[in-house]
């Protein structure tokens, strides 16, 4: 059983050599959730795509080693069987003309009956146990359902690691809470190692064992979640925590209260 997936000193650059991601090192462990935290455009998604050799055209991986239990391997060996990926916008990740069942058959390349059985059990695990679901087209499902369906498809390959890129961003709070419960359950039941890309410190607080903070294409701090919240070392982490605390504060800031009074 694979226990450790490590990314060491990864770099990504444009075709003309302009660096976008530099010196990124991340370690995923079985049964642990690592949150990769940062603002839009800081290089979170590019780091993942770089590690999996799935960069968009025009970008190049400039170095770095990805290793499974210490054995270096290429990104294409990892995709699907070792590392399952769940993307931010599930609607774009599905073929709109294929049912969920057809997606599963294509993914597994085994006998149809076996693919259908494995899909049914994965769908039950993500809470989509209605027998009509495998026959649905992506357009017939809500965003929350699609996100669960994508996780089910990720599970049927029985990959030991799951990378989820902003999986909760487009969901309403109730759907988001259900999805996070689901991820926590998968970690507990299957011992999945997860990398959870997010810009929301609340998501990290709810689920992560460890947090890596990214800024301007570099990891600026990595720490166990509780320590990161209690004693952030890097200035950028402190800024993110301050913005988070401001949003989470129950009492309203004095400036705002004054405004309300003035308007009323």
């Amino acid at each position: 059983m694979t226990r450790l997936l490590s990314i060491e000193d990864l770099a990504v650059a444009t075709g003309s050599g302009r660096p976008l991601v530099r010196g990124v090192s991340l370690t995923l462990r079985a049964g642990r959730i690592l949150a990769l935290l940062g603002e839009s455009g800081c290089g979170k998604s590019l780091s993942l795509l770089g590690a999996l050799d799935a960069l968009p055209p025009g970008l190049r991986r400039m170095g770095g080693v990805v290793a499974l239990d210490g054995r270096p391997c290429a990104g294409r060996e990892l995709r699907g069987g070792i590392v399952a990926t769940v993307l931010q916008n599930p609607r774009e990740a599905f073929n709109p003309l294929l049912t969920l069942r057809a997606h599963a058959r294509e993914t597994l390349e085994v006998r149809k009956a076996e693919a259908d059985a494995r899909l049914a059990s994965a769908l039950a695990e993500v809470g989509l146990d209605d027998p009509a679901v495998p026959g649905l087209l992506p357009g017939e499902m809500s965003g929350g359902m699609l996100q669960r369906a994508m996780i089910a498809l990720a599970l049927i390959r029985e990959a030991p690691f799951l990378i989820a890129d902003e999986p909760t961003t487009d969901l309403d709070p109730v759907a988001r809470a259900r999805l996070m419960d689901l991820l926590a359950g998968l970690r507990a039941r299957r011992g999945l190692g997860m990398l959870l890309v997010t810009h929301d410190l609340g998501v990290a607080a709810r689920l992560a064992d460890e947090v890596a903070v990214m800024q301007g294409g570099r990891i600026v701090e990595t720490a166990p979640t509780a320590r990161l919240f209690a004693a952030p070392a890097h200035r950028h982490t402190r800024d993110l925590l301050a913005a988070h605390a401001m949003l989470c504060a129950d009492d309203r800031p004095p400036a705002k209260t004054a405004t309300v009074g003035a308007v009323a």
Partner: protein
């Protein structure tokens, strides 16, 4: 005084499947009202009806106490000017072939008796108001980031000096820090302009921080309404409770809140 009121508004797109059922909601002058609810509960339908872009099947929308649908001539024109909307996706609500300046000037052309030079000056002023530079007027949408595009949309909505801006998930595509920054900017504009806002969101943390009052929608009705501060503890309706209980924790488990 009440700026905009929806009274007993009902709407269905398919017979037997009402989206709104006898909904009542009022926004006061200068007030920021947060409208919360799960995906698919009818928030966007409410927004379109509130602005007169769609007619309700039953009930009425009142603008300053008078039916919006019954306004004619100069009054209808004034209402169109006073009520502005910012959509969720900035990228698709800007014409990719128009410069930022041309997009922002569009409502000015419709509503302000300005000459070319006057419009350019007002566009520059609006760009600065939303934290962009006057030189940005000459750029095309493709040259801006998502957050900057959303600022351009807000500048365009502010151009005719509206009394109410409806933000339909207008900042949801930005990261949380970006959303808070943009809303901070709007809160500043509110202080100087006194513009009211119907802030439609599913991000309770933002509604709590930036709104005076919060209303929760479920099954085509408002099921909970109250001051933004303390709404979570007061909520009784199961749909409202489900929303508030789903708010992410501020701190990891085991760490006490400060």
């Amino acid at each position: 005084m009440t700026l905009l009121a929806l009274e007993g508004v009902g709407k269905s797109y398919r017979p037997g499947h009402p989206v709104l059922r006898g909904l009542d909601l009022a926004v006061r002058d200068g007030e920021w009202l947060g409208l919360l609810g799960q995906s698919g509960c009818g928030k966007s339908t409410l927004a379109r009806i509130a602005l007169g872009l769609e007619r309700p099947d039953t009930g009425a929308v009142l603008y300053r106490g008078r039916p919006l649908a019954g306004l004619r001539g100069a009054e209808a024109r004034q209402a169109r000017r006073d009520l502005q909307l910012v959509f969720q996706s900035a990228a698709v609500s800007l014409n990719p072939r128009l410069t930022a300046g041309a997009s922002i000037a569009e409502p000015l052309r419709n509503f302000e008796p300005l000459d070319r030079r006057g419009r350019a000056a007002r566009v520059a002023e609006l760009l600065e108001m939303v934290g962009l530079r006057p030189e940005d007027a000459g750029k095309l949408p493709g040259q801006f980031s998502g957050g900057q595009l959303q600022r351009i949309c807000i500048a365009r909505a502010l151009a005719p000096t509206p009394r109410l801006i409806v933000m339909d998930e207008a900042v949801s595509s930005l990261d949380l820090v970006g959303q808070a920054r943009l809303l901070d900017l709007l809160a500043g504009l509110r202080r100087s302009l006194g513009t009211a806002c119907l802030f439609i969101t599913h991000e309770i943390r933002l509604a709590r921080r930036f709104c005076d009052r919060v209303a929760v929608m479920d099954g085509g009705r408002i099921v909970e309404e109250g001051p933004a501060a303390g709404i979570e503890s007061m909520a009784r309706h199961p749909a409202a409770r489900a929303l508030f209980d789903a708010v992410l924790p501020p701190l990891p488990p085991g760490m006490a809140a400060r």
